[in-house]
Symmetry: C2
Subunit: 520 residues, 2 copies
């Protein structure tokens, strides 16, 4: 499964040591075995807890109160029927209100341990516990051209390219549609091409969206073809529906809910996405934005489980942040980092498979600002133990721009974040008293040549793929590489390489026969 | 005390609202009152806990065992006398060994609540609890020239400029010497000029180093002159000695210890700095590197308290990380982030004022890699509740290069990190049920115009000083600013502005009369 596991050369300081050479050559040649890779998908987070137990109870109570007293408006008729049958009340003000007992019952029957499948089972994602996975998402309308410093219209080809790149990035674990194929003017064709570009480009789990229940029916048909049969699709649904089922504050998105109903009946896992914006469509107080997002997603969870109890659903509170000077979104802010971590912690407090967003830089280009905005928000999401960290790679301009080069830069950033999520193992052996004693009392007074160092060099340490760790002298000798240019080279290598062929030619032909596909 | 507190304009969406204009104009004109600033020095961290209780006990036990069985070599004769008198044993192998009871006694008498003074009392730092402060440090030998993409020799003028810049940065709370004045060839003059450049450049707390006990005597004399008198210095010592008292593994740095003894007798606060490097001078296992650093710093704490019980000392485990492919240091790695956070947590577990290092980018220039390396390591150090986060701004090339422009970029990064450290307040008011109910049930269906939003706009949200949050359209309209160039402009404004005058002219003349000062 490893696509580009780094196999570092051994420490330079060991070079003089007799006898180890053939072992080192062997080490260099072999890919890292899965069990000693320093990081991998699904490492356990949770060491960062922005909320204490009392905070979480207070937020949950407030969310229950909001669902009971404010409720959620604008459910489609079908949704009203389902939810009233399940125990909601439907008021004269056309708002559905949810008694506490209904929410608690929903939590008891909701799907907890969830595996998100991938076309290649090696990329399946286990969303239990605090297992962390990073991936893309979004609906950027621009592709960032780093050479021209231009925001161009995003296209279906760019989307397919993004999927191909993600397929090759070790630390990006799933591919949700990150940008809009603006060159496809027919909405139905756009939705179907988006899904198929993702499925064709990567073997990893795919997330996508549909704007119309009718297109969703087509989408299921496409998924059946790719799976080989309807039964095969139901056995391993390898794509999920990201549905913004709510228009905050506290209104269902009527048509999206109708799309969701079709997906649920078609066995498609659901990401229940609530994307309020603190200070605009959610309270400006961070705690209030958490309450509203949790309330809305609990409402969505009632909806899903009133149709199909235990249906695979990801609890998706994605509250965003406003820069209150302009009212515009600020995805790279510290407030965003806290907000995502806190809603993630709430999702795990409720025992639910949970996704939220991080990595949404405000910076327009992959510069230092983009780096710290992405680094801070992603590592905090990971440390909080969010199962699915969406938007984590490639994003710029608070979700308006997507950059292929950034995917490659961000893959290194996510590797470091994953290393942080893994944390440190405190075992008798790793406490290292014996090696300390030997080194200090018997010589040589350093650890460069110790067996422990050689043994841990690959399993304890992760090395960047394109990140630069040269000394200033070496850096000058290699002509001072520019990070973005290094990323461009890697990007060209991937895109000029063979196209993915995990979808058999006959299946591809069947899809293209049935639907008008705009990329090749 | 606020030097550049940002006063944002109110939300654009509020513009149409009647009656608020004069209030908004007043808001814009006034600096932010201290009590409503969104972030400030000394916010309480601690929400991130890389180690659990059992881990911390195991590490502490291992450190005690290391001190008892391995001990620390190479103490100067004076140090041996002090520590043996306190209860250490001195072996035939010339290693001092520390019985558990001595370490425990030391912890009981060591200074816990420590205030680090500044020349201007408004910048005093309270190191109690998990209060977090970010600052500079290091001994870079290069100044990074971002225009030429060159690593040049660092100079005393650059050091003085760095102090002046830090003085103006809200989110950089202290100034420890970050680079070496390579243009001063005499070591005594270099040490004294380094101290005086820092003191002249900023009103904030200053940290520095001395390489010879003799120079340290001169340094104290200089500090007395700046303070106004020896008594005034002792009443508010506004500079601390950063002393690498140990050469890992487990050897005292003989001459540095002699410097330390002079400083202690001179009433100067001490940073007990242990800078092992995992995989080279410390175990490659992260947990082992933590054990060794904690053991060494506990040894140093015994040393300090055997001379002057309760002397102000900062517990300073600063273990670094090797890139084991080359043996070189990697300051920007995920392993470094964990290591710093873990030793910080250990320091607070022991109840000690604690400092460690973060922000040490491997990247040579302020690019995306520098951004994520600094962002990840700093926010984790802050969330772990480290009292003094050294190296947090300006550093590149794993401590070999220092960059003035990066100070300005990193100030924004640290603002976001501090916002994350602050976290979210879960209070009845901030849970926002009332405002949600009003907004959803009575209109207008959004929060842009709510009183809560206006009230929280400055106290709940921090705005970057040079960071860019424009939309792609606005960004194009303002000619696509380049972050590093914006930082350069700000840098020029500061350095072309008036020089700091907090040291009275007569005092300055007295210093220059007594010592040869190389900058003006």
């Amino acid at each position: 499964m490893s696509t580009e596991a780094e196999v570092p050369a051994p420490p330079a300081a060991r070079k003089g040591r007799a006898g180890g050479r053939s072992a080192r050559v062997a080490l260099r040649a072999a890919p890292l075995a899965e069990d000693i890779r320093p990081v991998r998908p699904g490492m356990e987070g949770g060491a960062y807890k922005p909320l204490n137990e009392g905070d979480m109870r207070a937020i949950y109570e407030a969310a229950l109160t909001a669902l009971e007293t404010i409720g959620i408006a604008d459910a489609p008729e079908t949704g009203v029927e389902y939810m009233v049958a399940a125990g909601s009340s439907y008021g004269e003000d056309k708002r559905l209100r949810f008694p506490r007992a209904l929410v608690e019952h929903t939590l008891s029957i909701a799907r907890k341990d969830l595996v998100l499948h991938a076309q290649d089972p090696n990329f399946d994602l286990d969303l239990s516990g605090h297992r962390v996975h990073f991936g893309t998402a979004g609906a950027a309308v621009h592709l960032v051209d780093v050479d021209e410093r231009e925001y161009k219209d995003s296209t279906i080809d760019a989307l397919y390219s993004a999927a191909r790149v993600v397929d090759q990035m070790d630390n990006i674990h799933f591919f949700q549609r990150p940008m809009v194929a603006r060159d496809i003017l027919d909405n139905r064709e756009m939705d179907l091409n988006t899904l198929y570009a993702a499925l064709s480009g990567t073997r990893k789990h795919v997330g996508t969206s549909f704007v119309d229940p009718d297109y969703m029916h087509d989408g299921l048909e496409l998924l059946h073809i790719v799976a080989g049969s309807e039964e095969a699709w139901h056995a391993r649904p390898f794509a999920s529906l990201s549905v913004t089922f709510v228009v905050p504050p506290m209104k269902f998105a009527t048509e999206s809910c109708q799309v969701m109903e079709v997906a649920i009946k078609g066995g498609m896992p659901i990401l229940l996405l609530s994307a309020g914006q603190a200070g605009a469509t959610a309270p400006a107080a961070i705690a209030g934005a958490v309450v509203q997002a949790v309330a809305e997603c609990l409402g969505g969870l009632v909806y899903v489980n009133s149709i199909a109890p235990g249906h695979p659903a990801i609890f998706g509170p994605w509250p965003f942040v406003s820069d209150l000077r302009s009212g515009a979104m600020s995805g790279g802010s510290g407030e965003q980092a806290i907000l995502s971590a806190a809603v993630g912690q709430m999702g795990k407090f409720l025992g639910l498979p949970t996704g939220s967003a991080a990595g949404m830089a405000d910076a327009k280009l992959p510069d230092a600002q983009a780096g710290y905005e992405k680094g801070i928000t992603n590592v905090m999401a990971g440390l909080a133990g969010i199962n699915m960290v969406y938007e984590s790679a490639g994003m710029h301009a608070s979700l308006l721009g997507f950059c292929l080069e950034s995917l490659i830069i961000d893959n290194d950033m996510l590797g470091q974040a994953l290393r942080c999520v893994r944390g440190l193992e405190v075992t008798p052996e790793k406490l290292s008293l014996a090696v300390m004693e030997k080194t200090c009392l018997e010589g040589p007074g350093h650890y460069l040549g110790s067996d422990q160092t050689l043994n841990l060099m690959q399993s304890e340490y992760i090395y960047p793929t394109i990140g630069d760790r040269t000394s200033p002298k070496e850096w000058a000798e290699v002509d001072k590489p520019v990070l973005v240019e290094t990323a461009q080279k890697r990007l060209r290598t991937i895109l000029q390489g063979p196209k993915p062929d995990h979808i058999p030619a006959a299946v591809d032909a069947a899809v293209r026969d049935r639907f008008r596909i705009h990329f090749s």
